[in-house]
Amino acid sequence: MASLIFLILGVLVVISSLLVILQRNPVYSALYLVFTFFSMAGIFLILGAEFIAAIQVIVYAGAIMVLFLFVIMMLNLEREPEAPGQHPWQKVFAVFFGLVLLITLGGAVYSGVLKAEPVRAVAKPAVENTKAVAALLFTDYLLPFEIASVLLLAAIVGAIYLAKREH
């Protein structure tokens, strides 16, 4: 049952991310990306990462995509015009190199991870996921946590300064 839901969510993610890159209108791309993020949150839930699923919905789908949509609305963009200066075969080359990378990644994963590590059963966690992640975050990973907060402060200052209107 979980495998079936995983399969359905995986197909949904692939279809909606394909639609993200194929839509002409940037608002449609953003909405399909929101759908992709929600499906990814479902996949995270199936993989047992409940905390990550929650912050995926809150941060990615709830804050980052809202920011994207606000900027698209503010800049009042239209449909993307047909690119005149493009190489005529650019799309073909892009898809070709994408397939090459996909095959390379598949080969790397297969020979590296899937052969070396035997697929073993997952132990049932003793505490809830959020509690366990928080325990790690505030003990072993305390320094990166504090540095992340300084990074967010720098991002706030930078974003405000860059987007300010000249007076």
Partner: protein, 100 residues
């Protein structure tokens, strides 16, 4: 357990879709969205492998990837707004001042 190969394959596919999107799209905001797709693919790989190795370090790293992605989106969109204010276009072919 079918989850690990399927999750890693899905992560690779989403990463490649994002990469192809960065290649073929001309709008700067859509290119940015495809970069977010690639970051999500990496998050999926981290979570799947964390589950496989029965540790939570992968999930902590996903937390940090999301933090950095949020900061990057804020600053990147501010840059795009500033660019649009100066050049009135978001077609990335137009930004060729550094081309020789």
């Amino acid at each position: 357990m079918i989850e690990l190969p399927f999750a890693l394959a899905l992560s690779a596919v989403i990463f490649v879709i994002g990469m192809v999107g960065v290649f073929i799209r001309r709008n700067a905001i859509v290119v940015f969205m495809c970069i977010e797709l690639m970051l999500n693919a990496v998050n999926l790989a981290f979570v799947a492998l964390a589950r496989q190795l029965n540790t939570l370090d992968g999930q902590v790293f996903v937390f940090f990837v999301m933090t950095v992605a949020a900061a990057e989106v804020a600053v990147g969109l501010a840059i795009i707004v500033a660019l649009f204010r100066n050049r009135e276009t978001l077609n990335i072919d137009e930004f060729n001042l550094m081309k020789w």
